[in-house]
């Protein structure tokens, strides 16, 4: 066969490394019974703390775990963040937290495994990291530190399970809840940040204005007269009585054209602006009312928690 010693058994060596990586990661991977269909997967993130994909938990109570040794564990919901699709559970079961890989290992072309436990046994799929980008916002406005796109099959029950590098350490959490067609992973930094906040407070703080908007095209003559650069504005179509926007004197039909000096043209521009760091601070809006521009100052509130 091959002339060089390292070449002989390369394939067998790789195969063994991949299986070892799955075995190593699987010690921190549990099955989560929190919906009617097949269980989803979860990763032990800290002592007594399990993270999973929020969309896989359709109930808040009566959640149980299947542990790596086949035993059963009880879990209580510590909190959910639908915007990043992360939920945190607490459990008394003593399990080793997952080993994290350094963020620098998130590179395009890396061989990665998705590990899941949609039942008693661990399962795996193999692929590569196909794209790594900067920070992005989910469609619900959640902030994710890196965009990690995978060329890999995320099978039923894999959401909430770890993305594992060939060495067995965890690069992130897989979820199919944030995108339609492709597999993406939430990087460790995002899971650390969101899970930390959920453990501490039970929810993730988000800025809140208490209004709903819809994009409208601004007529050319109006833009010229008012000196507006953007073609679009956001017309206020709903106001929460007593909410921050209401208290600041905004009215239905006002058109928001700028926030803190930046043009806005899509409702997501406002969502993006409303990070946790804005809560309690003043935000300067530029609006058009009755054909005239007008500056408005709003004190950003904290988004109330639904159903609590």
């Amino acid at each position: 066969m091959g002339t060089s010693v390292p070449a002989a058994g390369t394939l067998a060596g790789l195969s063994n490394d991949l299986a070892e990586a799955v075995t190593r990661a699987s010690r921190s991977v549990v099955a989560i019974h929190g919906r009617r269909r097949i269980p989803s997967s979860g990763v032990v993130w800290g002592p007594g703390v399990v993270v999973t994909a929020n969309h896989t938990l359709t109930r808040d109570e009566d959640i149980s775990l299947t542990l790596p040794d086949g035993g059963t564990g009880v879990a209580t919901l510590a909190g959910r963040d639908p915007t990043t699709d992360i939920a945190v559970l607490r459990t008394d079961s003593s399990l080793p937290p997952a080993e994290r890989a350094p963020d620098a290992n998130l590179q395009v072309g890396r061989l990665v495994l998705a590990v899941g436990r949609p039942g008693p046994e661990v399962t795996a799929s193999l692929g590569i990291v196909s794209a790594v980008g900067g920070e992005w916002r989910t469609w619900q406005g959640g902030r994710v530190d890196r965009f990690v796109r995978l060329d890999l099959s995320v099978y039923d029950g894999f959401s909430g399970g770890p993305l594992v590098e060939a060495g067995g350490r965890v690069l992130g959490i897989n979820t199919s809840g944030l995108t339609r067609a492709m597999a993406v992973a939430l990087p460790v930094a995002t899971v650390d940040r969101v899970a930390g906040e959920l453990v501490k407070k039970g929810h993730v703080t988000r800025g809140y204005l208490g209004l709903a908007v819809q994009p409208v095209r601004l007529p050319g003559p109006m833009r010229q007269e008012l000196g507006l650069a953007g073609r679009m504005g956001l017309v206020i179509i709903n106001l929460e009585a007593g909410g921050p926007a209401d208290r600041a004197g905004l009215l239905l039909g006002d058109i928001i054209t700028g926030v803190e000096g930046e043009d806005v043209s899509d409702p997501s521009d406002i969502l993006t602006f409303l990070g946790p760091e804005r809560v309690g601070k003043e935000a300067k809006l530029r609006i058009v009312r009755a054909g005239k521009t007008k500056p408005v100052a709003i004190t950003v509130g904290e988004r109330p928690r639904k159903g609590h």
């Binding site: 091959g2 661990v122 795996a124």
Partner: protein, 197 residues
């Protein structure tokens, strides 16, 4: 230096993959029933025993084409629809035969290879990993693999990286390939009495 080492590793990987694919190609046959589509089969003994799926070997006889282009009429000797296995004989000797591997030693993440004739495309190789094991019909367990297969792979080999046959590709469900473990094939052969020579 580091780059050279990586490239050597990669070329080693590729040449081993080539060698394993070549071993599999020689033991994989195309099984054709008259205009009823194509499947695959595995040469189980040098004296002309071929194993395939029952859903491939639907007629009493079928056309078996070997890796070297030779075509034989295969006779279906045993057919078990429950286990989806069939035993076919062809009038040939001195054939390359499958080396059975140990499917029990498989772990999720282990690399696996499949060879077959998806959509009639001869000798297509696929690479993937063991996904898991699950309860199958009866008390048998399927080998489930994260590997891209299609109709025409049925009856073909699922192999480990050494090129040893660990299962017979049988169906695709939920995007996953399902293979009958080699131990089940061996039990079937023992029951038929046509033990590999």
């Amino acid at each position: 230096m580091a780059t050279t080492a990586v490239l050597q590793g990669l070329s080693g990987f590729e040449s081993e993959l080539n060698a394993a694919a070549e071993r599999l190609r020689r033991i994989t046959v195309q099984a054709r029933t008259h205009r009823m589509g194509e499947g695959s089969g595995v040469i189980w003994s040098r004296s002309g025993l071929v194993v395939s799926n029952a859903h491939v070997a639907r007629a009493g006889s079928l056309e078996i084409e070997l890796w070297d282009g030779r075509v034989f009429e295969g006779r279906v000797r045993w057919r078990d629809p429950r286990r989806d296995l069939a035993l076919i004989t062809i009038p040939a000797t001195g054939l390359p035969e499958a080396v059975p591997g140990d499917a029990g030693a498989l772990r999720p993440g282990d690399l696996v290879l499949a060879l077959g004739h998806p959509f009639g495309l001869a000798n297509a190789l696929a690479l993937g990993v063991v996904h898991g094991l699950a309860a199958g019909p009866g008390r048998n367990r399927w080998i489930r693999a994260d590997i891209r297969l299609a109709p025409g792979n049925s009856g073909g080999p699922l192999a480990n990286v050494a090129g040893e046959v660990i299962g017979l590709n049988t169906l695709v469900a939920g995007g996953l390939a399902h293979a009958i473990p080699v131990s089940v094939v061996q039990r079937f052969l023992a029951e038929t009495g046509e033990q590999a020579a």
